[in-house]
């Protein structure tokens, strides 16, 4: 008979047996004769993947979705094909770097970042807690069912039971104690637990045996083999549906996403990492595990459908939870021994998972969360404590209890709302978030710490929002409104249909969005950030792990810390005895007789660092070792300087390139400035030489005639007067020329005096006309003035404006045909200001010459046989004057039909503003 005491006794005997195996395993390991050093044990221990979720949950899932239970095992089978490359690389990297957990792995890859280690730990703990609670639920359910033997029972609602009356609470406590005894009996630098692995392998045998036992019983005792069960099942239409995709809740999308999810889970679940990577004794074992492990998965799944069908046919009323078929079928047949075996099998599946998972998590919590914080808090004076190993063991034990109790809490809060399989998938989706950072880090050197942090954070945030929080809400722990209507009532933010992506199951939906955000952020941020030197070194170590089995440890600290100091330091964390043993072994390997004779070189410091990394994580180990190396003259700063040399050289070279580019630009600027100066110089020379020439011409006449008059006193009077007249006119010309050159120079240099006042333009124009009227009438030219009645007063210099008018009028007279010539002066008010036109009907000016005439000393009419009288400075000066008042002066002409010189003066005086501009463009 199965009484409570029998069950408890059997359980304790079973656990005792596990202890014995673990103890034996540890003893053998200490003696150097490992019992786990063979691929079969390794492959069996990997089967820690199959938890009570597999043991009870597969049948439960098959009962609702038929073959939909399979992806969880197909994924790992597919991944196993890649183990020879991916897992092997992880193992090599981890051994080379003494990596003790998945958090350590990520932290180490990205420059031994404590932040990343902590982040991964937090995600792992939050993600795995529901999974642990699932195991507690399974054990407590099976316990409550078997207690009622031989009655068929469905588990009670555990959440209603007070804490101290709750079996599950005691199961959790027992599991915690059990895990502490297994996992933290001593502190090992390598963080390997041979005895534990042996026990886990044994558990895998037990659960497989138990499941196959019930399977064989159902298939061959209750029925007459597979064919009999399936042919019986075919008579039930609702069972036939379970055999293919049609009619089940499993569509292709969720089939694919579950396969993908479990492909990642087998690599990144902390317990799988612990067993497959950390506890691996020989990487050659992987070769056999590649096919042994899938074989185990196949074996444990063969009887899932027969048990499911048998259960559904035996309990057609649907009042028995399919998750309990494995246990309830033997109970229904009153097979007490088989029932006990099944219970022990389920127990072994649950305990194996909880122990390994919790150990892995507690290592992470201790090394990546608590120790970094404690080492930073100087109040504890950790650096001065002689022996920290007790403290570390204490932290780990606390972490174990904490993690299991969190699992229990989740069980109380949310456990009842979900079937086993759904809870497990939530955890799978959480650890899948590690994939981009780890796989990316292993195969892409460009992956950076910031990229990994951003990817993990966004992925984890999406997972929390689309999976964890809805699970809380469905359990009634959070208001359900945000699930049904979206956060803040925004439909786009509905956690299960984010941004309107509907039609997917929760897991597929979460996987899509979390991976999309995670990978996106990881790659994008990695591309835009530059890795630090430490990151680059670690990236090379990880990515090139295959090609460089013995990597250069360029990053290791160099200094003169003494052997004693290092040994004491390691002893503080590992215990003095272990430290001495480790150093002695190292000395032996290096060919020296004792640790005292070791040279405290970079290799030894690296050795100490890796020893410590095993106990307190890579990030913390570096900080601790650096603390004693730093005190030496050849301190860490200097070392880091040396290491940074490359990057500094790069930076220098970049700076030089930049400088050189700047110099080239400056040179180019100087060259063009010089060219402009030369041009200006040439213009000035030209001007001076032209002015000189223009001055010499009248001077030549004056001198020649003066000498002629002097040498010929007997000249006729008329001739005498003619020559004197020439001298006078040429003197006047010379004076005018000198005045105009000086005038122009003054205007151009801005030194001219301007007597600006409000003036009446009409008056100025009329005065100019009257003072030139004689000139026009002498030459037989008619002069006409067309002015509107009212012209506004403008602000200008009256004399200067007069100068312009006189110049334009005398030019018109000069170039007009004598007798029959006509000049019309027009004034008008335009939008631009006051406009004055002086139009003649002379020969006109060709298009080319229209520009030339405003240049100095250029007169049109040079082609005539006789040079016109003028200085060639009149128009340039006029233009300068008009521009000074903010106006402009131009000419329009058709050759043969006269020319019109026009200027516009703005009504408001802008003389002050325009001076500078005029000066700038005047030359």
């Amino acid at each position: 008979m199965l009484t409570g005491s029998v069950i408890v006794l059997a359980s304790f005997i079973y656990v005792g047996l596990l202890f014995a195996i673990a103890y034996y395993g540890d003893k053998r390991a200490d003696a150097g004769r490992s019992i786990i050093a063979n691929p079969y044990i390794y492959a069996l221990s990997l089967a820690v993947y199959c938890t009570s979720w597999t043991f009870y949950g597969s049948v439960g899932r098959a009962a609702t979705s038929g073959i939909g239970f399979l992806p969880i095992y197909l994924g790992p089978t597919l991944t196993a094909m890649l183990w020879g490359y991916v897992l092997l690389k992880m193992v090599r990297i981890s051994k080379a770097n003494r990596i003790t957990s998945i958090a350590d792995f990520v932290a180490s890859r990205y420059g031994k970042s404590q932040l990343l280690g902590g982040l991964v730990t937090v995600i792992a703990v939050i993600g795995i807690v529901p999974y642990i609670s699932l195991q507690l639920k399974a054990v407590s359910n099976s316990f409550s069912i078997i207690l009622k033997y031989p009655a068929i029972a469905t588990p009670d609602n555990e959440a209603m039971i007070p804490l101290l009356a709750d079996n599950t609470f005691y199961i959790a406590l027992l599991l915690a104690i059990f895990t502490i005894l297994f996992g933290t009996r001593h502190l090992d630098a390598s963080e390997r637990h041979e005895g534990l692995v042996a026990a886990i392998a044994f558990e895998s045998v037990v659960k497989l045996f138990a499941f196959i036992a019930v399977g064989v019983y159902v298939t061959y005792v209750l029925y007459d083999g597979f064919a009999d069960i399936f042919s019986s099942a075919i008579e039930y239409p609702q069972l036939v549906k379970l055999l293919d995709f049609g009619g089940t809740s499993v569509d292709y999308a969720s089939w694919a996403s579950l396969t993908f999810l479990s492909m990642l889970a087998i690599l990144f679940l902390p317990r799988q990492f612990q067993i497959a990577v950390v506890e691996n004794v020989d990487e050659r074992h992987l070769k056999k595990a590649v096919w042994l492990f899938p074989l185990y998965l196949l074996a444990i799944n063969i009887f899932v459908l027969p048990i499911t069908f048998a259960g559904l046919m035996h309990f057609p009323a649907g009042n028995v939870d399919a998750d309990t078929f494995v246990l309830n079928l033997p109970i229904a047949q009153q097979q007490s021994l088989l029932t006990l075996i099944v219970f022990i099998g389920g127990l072994s599946a649950a305990t194996g998972m909880v122990i390994v998972e919790t150990i892995a998590l507690s290592t992470m919590v201790c090394n990546n969360l608590v120790m970094p914080v404690l080492l930073r808090l100087n109040v504890l004076h950790l650096h001065e404590r002689a022996d920290l190993s007790t403290l570390i063991v204490g932290i780990r034990r606390g972490a174990i209890i904490g993690v299991i109790m969190l699992g229990y809490a989740y069980f109380r809060l949310a456990g009842e709302a979900y079937a086993l399989v759904s809870i497990g998938l939530i955890s799978f989706a959480a650890v899948a978030q590690f994939a981009p950072a780890i796989l990316g880090g292993m195969f892409w050197k460009g992956a950076t710490r910031r990229g990994a942090i951003c990817g993990l954070l966004t992925g984890f945030a999406v997972w929390t929002y689309t999976l964890l929080l809805p699970s809380f809400a469905k359990s009634g722990w959070l208001p359900i409104e945000f699930v049904e209507h979206g956060l803040f009532g925004m439909t786009l933010l509905k956690p299960l249909e984010l941004f309107g992506l509907g039609g997917l199951d929760d897991i597929t939906h979460c996987l899509f969005w979390s991976m999309f955000c995670n990978i996106g952020a990881f790659i994008a941020v990695s591309l835009v950030t530059t890795p630090s030197f430490a990151e680059q070194v670690q990236a090379a170590l990880f990515v090139d792990a295959h090609s460089a089995p013995r990597p250069q440890r360029a990053e290791s600290l160099r200094g003169d810390a003494s052997v004693n100091e290092l040994m004491t330091l390691v002893g503080r964390f590992l215990g003095q005895r272990r430290a001495r043993v480790a150093f002695a072994a190292y000395a032996q390997k290096r060919g020296t007789r004792s640790a005292r004779e070791l040279k405290p070189d970079a290799d030894l410091i690296h050795f100490a660092e890796t020893l410590l990394a095993g106990a307190i994580g890579a990030g913390s180990a570096r900080v601790v070792v650096a603390s004693i190396v730093q005190e030496e003259p050849l301190g860490i700063d200097k070392v880091m300087n040396i290491l940074d040399e490359t990057s500094q050289a790069l930076a220098h070279s970049r700076e030089l390139e930049q400088k050189s580019r700047e110099l080239e630009i400056a040179t180019e600027e100087l060259r063009s400035a010089n060219q402009r100066l030369q041009e200006l110089d040439r213009l000035k020379d030209d001007f001076v030489s032209t002015v000189t020439h223009e001055l010499r011409t009248p001077l030549t006449s004056i001198r020649a005639f003066s000498e002629i008059l002097q040498d010929n006193p007997a000249l006729e009077l008329t001739q005498r007067e003619k020559f004197l007249g020439i001298i006078t006119r040429e003197s006047e010309r010379l004076t005018r020329l000198i005045n105009q050159v000086l005038d122009l120079a003054k205007i151009e240099s801005g030194n001219a005096e301007w007597r600006t006042a409000d003036i009446d333009v009409r008056e100025v124009i009329e005065d100019a006309l009257s003072s030139t009227s004689q000139l026009f009438s002498d030459n037989g030219i008619t002069l006409e003035l067309r002015l509107p009645d009212a012209l506004p007063r403008i602000s200008a210099d009256r004399d200067r404006l007069m100068q312009v008018m006189l110049n334009l009028l005398s030019n018109a007279a000069k170039y007009c045909h004598n007798n029959g010539g006509q000049v019309i002066v027009t004034g008008a008010l335009t939008p631009d200001g006051l406009r004055v036109d002086v139009a003649d009907n002379g020969a006109g000016i060709s298009a080319d010459d229209q520009h030339v005439i405003f240049e100095k000393f250029r007169q049109v009419g040079d082609t005539l046989t006789q040079k016109p009288h003028g200085t060639g400075l009149g128009l340039p000066i006029c233009r300068q004057i008009v521009q000074h008042f903010g106006g402009r002066l131009w000419v329009e002409s058709t050759p043969g039909r006269g020319a019109t010189f026009s200027f516009v003066l703005p009504l408001g005086s802008r003389a002050g503003n325009e001076t500078a501009a005029a000066r700038k463009f005047g030359t």
Binding site: H693, T700, R703, A704, I726, T865, K867
Partner: protein
């Protein structure tokens, strides 16, 4: 001894003064006001001496000088350049183009007369 002299200048007053000076010396004088006119006059008037300005409209004095020197029928022609341009480089250019004398403005009338006499005296034996 009477010689034919061509005066080329675009400044009317300078032409007037040269005309007076050279006629006083007893020479026959013709005038031109630009390069084209100068070449034309040289062909018809057949001067013994050309007094040539440089800054001339259409064809400048240097060019007139070169063309006259390129004309085989003008082999005995004397050329006196009289210009406001006095830089060494321009002086050299004048000689290179074939000028016998290069004088700058303003000039001393006695100097000019002396140089003309000099040029025409050298000319005499060849012409005799």
């Amino acid at each position: 001894m009477t010689r034919r002299i061509l005066i080329v200048d675009d400044e009317l007053n300078i032409v007037t003064s040269l005309d007076f000076l050279l006629k006083s010396e007893g020479h026959e004088v013709a005038t031109a006001h630009n390069g084209g006119e100068a070449l034309q006059q040289a062909a018809t008037f057949r001067p013994h001496l050309v007094v040539l300005d440089v800054m001339l409209p259409v064809i400048d004095g240097f060019e007139v000088c070169r063309r006259l020197r390129a004309d085989p029928s003008q082999r005995s022609l004397k050329i006196l350049i009289l210009t406001a341009r006095g830089r060494a480089a321009e002086r050299e250019r004048g000689h290179a183009e074939g000028a016998d004398v290069y004088m700058t403005k303003p000039f001393a009338t006695r100097d000019l007369v002396a140089r003309v006499r000099e040029l025409l005296r050298c000319d005499e034996p060849g012409n005799a």
